[in-house]
Amino acid sequence: MNQPQTIIDKLWSAHEILRREDGNSLLWVDRHYVHEGSFHAFGKLAARGVKVAEPGLTFGVADHYVPTRGSRQNIANPELARMVRQVEENTAQHGVKLFGLDDPRQGIVHVVGPEQGLTLPGLLIVCGDSHTSTHGALGAYAFGIGASEVAHVLMTQTIWQKKPKRLRVTVDGKAAPGISGKDIVLAIIAYIGADGATGCAVEFAGSAIQALSIEGRLTLCNMSIEAGARCGMVAPDQTTFAYLKGRPYVPNGTEFDKAVEVWSKLTTDSGAQFDQDVTLDANAIAPIVTWGTSPEDALPIDASVPDPAREANEDRAKYLRGALEYMGIAPGKKLTDIAVDRVFIGSCTNSRIEDLRAAAAVLAGRTSKVPGLVSAGSTLIKQQAEQEGLDRIFRDAGLEWGESGCSMCVGINGDLVAPGERCASTTNRNFRGRQGPGARTHLMSPAMVAAAAVAGHLADVRPLLAGRKV
């Protein structure tokens, strides 16, 4: 009789080449995604004069530095052009497939992987980007790595890891209409803290998670890193298999059926033990926004920001004062009284077709009181949205409809929030200066960003959905 195992144990042991006495394991990597930022690692290969070990398992994208406006074939900014050219040259030199700017499949790495069917259940996936945890939504073991590790994977297709602790986050119940994967994950992070899952691999389980679409699960797993998790995952199920079937890189025909048989077993056995368990009630989750400078600074939209004067712990009070000062918000202010200057819909967190539909459902026939940018997660999603007429809704509302890339989430392509400006954003980090020096970021779901756009201030989306199909 085998010990009951968690999904984390199953994925781990399937990739463990060896475990040393010191507890370090060498793991096999099934997919390695690279982007413009991987230049440090390619430089290390060049310095050693070695080639990529498994170019067929390595895929590149251009996403971090690509412009969302203007020509993408003749990039005006020479520094951005150089970054894009660099990933083109590095991948070409090593025979690595690149979804570059001349490819209609281009997009954000964590959107393209699942969309193309490169990301599959049971795979171990790494990428030099912390939001690689996204891919766990399909039942993969996926985590972000640094440049030295990227170089190591390029050279050996393996990575050294110590087995993390196993944390299960169970969200049971039924989320109310208008509540998305984003609200659920922000609720989780607010509850366990920005380091609540540090050192852990996380399985998200429970009826509210199972009820999520793949898009919702991708959002959820994407932000597991914002709770400090090594990786986050959802066990593959019928929703997963239906999503995968027919995608370009997914096995087809009888190979698909055989794979589904294997993937169906990648669930936590009953009675399997986790190192830690956390439970949340989905019925209690309201639309959530962040007010401060860490994703854990998240509250339901009907709440008020904290008042440091009422905080007994001096360190905490100091943190609150600093965060409120940076954000330019008076202590105790109602969240719905906070006016916004700009909105952004995009990023690896919330730029998929369902996200765009959710925002468009709110914006249809309405006008945004503030300027804003919508950047689809991939060029294919952009095309699909245009076929569905979503681009018209955004444009008619007064928002800009841009090309696909990481864009205003991290701002390194030049899409910046101005100093002191306040942005309602579907992204993943409200860190100081994340969207540009002095930028003030409030994280929320696409529907909530649309609500903020319509209201001109942070707002509850639910009344705006009355009588609308969502």
């Binding site: 080449i17 060896l18 010191d22 507890g23 370090n24 060498l26 096999w28 099934d30 930022g37 440090h40 430089g43 398992l57 520094e79 069917g117 490169l118 599959l120 049971g122 030099g128 980007d129 912390s130 972000g144 790595i145 640094g146 440049a147 030295s148 590790e149 170089a151 190591h152 050279m155 050996t156 297709q157 393996t158 050294w160 110590k162 920005a194 380091d195 540090t198 400090g228 090594r230 370009p248 890189y249 997914v250 096995p251 190979e255 055989k258 294997v262 854990e296 360190d315 943190y319 600093g322 991290v410 390194i412 100093p419 980090r429 860190f431 100081r432 200066g433 994340r434 020096p437 002095g438």
Partner: protein, 206 residues
């Protein structure tokens, strides 16, 4: 990679929980190579205002802490983006050790790859060390990796660090060489795995 055994030097307290890698190295410097001087822009937006003037209140700008070899921080130090350049920035500025109650996983993994020690102490101990440094800013601090001790004034603290990381730092090991020594095991795994999990190979012709 240089070996690390023991260091005595200036220690700068930065009492800020969740100090993320965007703050350690703002994203606009990510396109820089290390040779361009990434150490100069460590904590850029915390150290300088929009006009480029130094913010005198930021600890590492204070004359007594300017030459810090050790940074003492609060919980979840280095959370956020996986950018290894955040470690380059600290190291190239001259920092060799960070002392904090906890770290972002990716950050501490990147640190060991570059010879930067991430020493873990309890919350209260980090607060105590930061308190001692605030009272006596020029108090030298000694970090001994072999003994896993921090000496700060009259206080001696035991710190923890993953034993594998400790060995690598002490020996200046590079893990590529270690991995190469398992080349046969990797090849055997790959052959077996290809047969067992044919679906794991991306479908060709896509």
């Amino acid at each position: 990679m240089d070996k690390f055994t023991k260091i005595t030097g200036v220690a700068c307290p930065i009492n800020q929980a969740n100090l993320n890698t965007d703050q350690i190295l703002p994203a606009r410097y990510l396109k820089w190579t290390r040779a361009q001087g990434i150490g100069k822009v460590l904590f850029q937006d915390l150290r300088f205002d929009a006009e480029g003037n130094e913010k005198p209140d930021f600890p590492i700008n204070k004359p007594e802490w300017r030459n810090a070899k050790i940074v003492v921080g609060a919980r979840n130090f280095g959370c956020g983006s996986s950018r290894e350049a955040a470690v380059y920035a600290l190291y190239d500025y001259g920092v060799r050790v960070v002392i904090a109650p906890s770290y972002g996983d990716i950050f501490s993994g990147n640190a060991v790859q570059n010879g930067l020690v991430t020493a873990i102490v309890a919350d209260e101990e980090a607060a105590e060390i930061m308190g001692a440094l605030s009272r006596t800013p020029n108090l030298p601090v000694t970090v001994d990796l072999e003994e896993q001790t921090i000496v700060c004034g009259n206080g001696t603290y035991q710190f923890t660090i993953d034993p594998v990381r400790r060995m690598r730092l002490l020996n200046g090991w590079d893990d590529i060489a270690l991995t190469e020594s398992y080349r046969d095991r990797i090849a055997a795994f790959k052959a077996e795995d290809r047969a067992a999990r044919p679906w794991a190979i991306p479908r060709s012709g896509a």
